[in-house]
């Protein structure tokens, strides 16, 4: 379904639902710099442009890199090692996917051992696997953060909410692919152990990257899990 925005160009409108963002995370810090003014033309910009020292440096680096890639062929070993970096790319190849599945599965296994830490919210929209956990015990959640950080080299953030809980959140780059054949659709309510089991089952069957996952907790402490195959990308 499209989003109407009359600020765009008139004419036939594409289905821009996936790249239309009405709010950006950096809005708050950049808002004071937003000044709408008439931009000079393309040729005026080129004529008026005076290269700085950093431009010459950047140009030299580009020349060196181009020479490197043309003259000296990159070794396979180098390419493979770059794929080991979790944040290297949003595009998931088979190896990246296995690594990410392994990381998620291990985090869920670690979470099972934590009595005082529970899932708060999971969302796989917007190219990130967004994972939030919570606890009323700061020491426990801080200790858990250190364990996960050390084991999986992920960035975590701790915040507190208005109910005296501490929230531990992390994001893993995640891309959802279309799955024309797959019809798995899950809508269930259950306890945290059931939710973890359901997600680990999706991981085991390698289906998690083929749909949109959402987990929310309600007032009674029960979880609502939704998983639907993607047909939007």
């Amino acid at each position: 379904m499209f989003n109407v925005n009359f600020l765009g160009h008139p004419g036939i409108q594409p289905d821009i639902v996936n790249n239309y963002i009405s709010y950006r995370a950096d809005d708050e810090k950049n808002i004071k710099n937003v000044i709408i003014k008439k931009e000079p033309g393309f040729f005026t910009k080129i004529i008026d442009y005076v290269p700085s020292k950093s431009d010459y440096l950047a140009f030299s680096i580009i020349v060196v890199l181009i020479t490197f890639f043309i003259v000296i062929k990159p070794q396979k070993k180098l390419v493979n090692s770059s794929k080991k970096i979790v944040f290297s790319s949003l595009a998931i190849n088979a190896k990246d996917l296995d690594e990410k599945y392994l990381t998620l599965n291990n985090i869920l296994d670690d979470l099972k051992l934590q009595d005082e830490i529970k899932i708060l919210k999971i969302s796989t929209q917007n190219n990130y696997f967004n994972f939030k956990m919570f606890s009323s015990n700061f020491n426990k959640i801080n200790e858990f953060q250190k364990i996960l950080k050390e084991k999986y080299n992920l960035n975590f953030r701790i915040a507190n909410d208005n109910k005296s809980n501490f929230i531990l959140s992390t994001e893993i780059p995640w891309k959802i692919y279309n799955d024309i054949d797959e019809k798995t659709k899950i809508q269930n309510v259950g306890e945290s152990s059931f939710i973890i089991y359901t997600i680990q089952d999706l991981i085991k069957k390698q289906k998690l990257h083929k749909g949109i996952l959402g987990v929310d907790i309600n007032k009674d402490g029960y979880y609502f899990i939704k998983f639907s195959p993607s047909n939007k990308l």
């Binding site: 379904m1 989003n3 009359f6 004419g11 036939i12 809005d27 808002i31 937003v34 949109i212």
Partner: protein, 294 residues
């Protein structure tokens, strides 16, 4: 971000910021146009009034205008023609050159099996006035949305409406509107009213059969002869100004596939609690939450 929606001469606004536990509404309210407001200055004046009310020197704004501010038409394109060429030709023949006109026309595709486009003819001066306001106040206009279409974005943001195979958005007012979406594609956009306890279509764009079925079900629901909606998997509703008995009926109806679009029950806010009927008036402002984790 300050998100505003128009309901004729009344403008509803929310001012929200991101927080660790999701978006947080700092203030909300409504502003009504003064009787002597120059029609050309409406959007500049209302943005400026809300800017002062929210104590903002510079900010990002999202504006949803009333559907009465634009004109609609529908174009059927034969499969054998290139859609872009036909629409361009049709547009030049009927309206004139886009560059010379005072309107801007936006074409949105209905579901693929219909080969139809919904055309929205938007007055350029509205955009110019808003841009002028942004320039004068070191601010940015991020989005200009349209009535029920913004409420549909809200339903996707906060209620995951697009998880359903089909759903409908119902705007309740003196004149009602509905959007029907099947498989994430627009099936129809319909305007209707009540005459002698019966709902009558004023204007329909897209698949009229689906519109008729949905309206019939809403009519039965209002007259308490039926309590469920079967045309679509889920019905999301909100209201405009005024008192309408069907709103209470829908709120009280505990069927799982009918939900109110009340942003205040999904987003934290600093203010005192707001009753659900008043909360529904702000449904269209929720479109500014698109793209963030609610």
């Amino acid at each position: 971000m300050i998100s505003i929606s128009q309901d004729k001469k009344t403008f509803y606004y929310i001012h929200w910021v991101p927080s660790e536990s999701g978006p947080l509404i700092l203030t909300y309210g409504k502003e009504t146009l003064k009787a002597n407001t120059d029609s050309n200055q409406v959007f500049y004046d209302i943005l400026d009034t809300i800017r002062i009310k929210t104590n903002n020197v510079s900010s990002i704004y999202s504006m949803t205008i009333d559907s009465n501010m634009v004109s609609f038409s529908e174009t059927q394109v034969d499969k054998s023609f290139d859609h872009f060429d036909v629409i361009d030709w049709f547009h030049k023949k009927t309206i004139g050159n886009i560059q010379d006109g005072i309107d801007e026309t936006f074409h949105y595709s209905f579901s693929k099996n219909q080969n139809k486009y919904l055309n929205m003819h938007f007055r350029s001066h509205i955009k110019k006035k808003m841009s002028l306001f942004a320039q004068d106040n070191n601010s940015e206009i991020r989005n200009i949305g349209l009535g029920i279409f913004s409420a549909e974005v809200t339903a996707r943001c906060i209620l995951n409406a697009d998880y359903n195979d089909s759903y409908a958005i119902l705007q309740i007012g003196k004149e009602c509107e509905a959007l029907i979406i099947h498989g994430n594609e627009l099936s129809s956009y319909v305007r209707f009213s009540i005459k002698n306890k019966k709902y009558e279509i004023i204007k329909n764009y897209g698949d009229i059969n689906n519109s008729k079925k949905l309206i019939k079900e809403i009519e039965l629901l209002k007259n308490k002869k039926n309590l469920t909606i079967k045309t679509v998997d889920h019905l999301y509703f909100y209201k405009k100004q005024g008192k309408f008995s069907i709103v209470k009926q829908l709120i009280d109806n505990d069927k799982t596939n009918i939900s109110p679009i009340n942003i205040f029950s999904h987003i934290s806010h600093n203010n005192k609690s707001i009753n659900i009927q008043d909360g529904l008036l702000f449904a269209e402002t929720g479109c500014s939450l698109w793209g963030i984790d609610v």
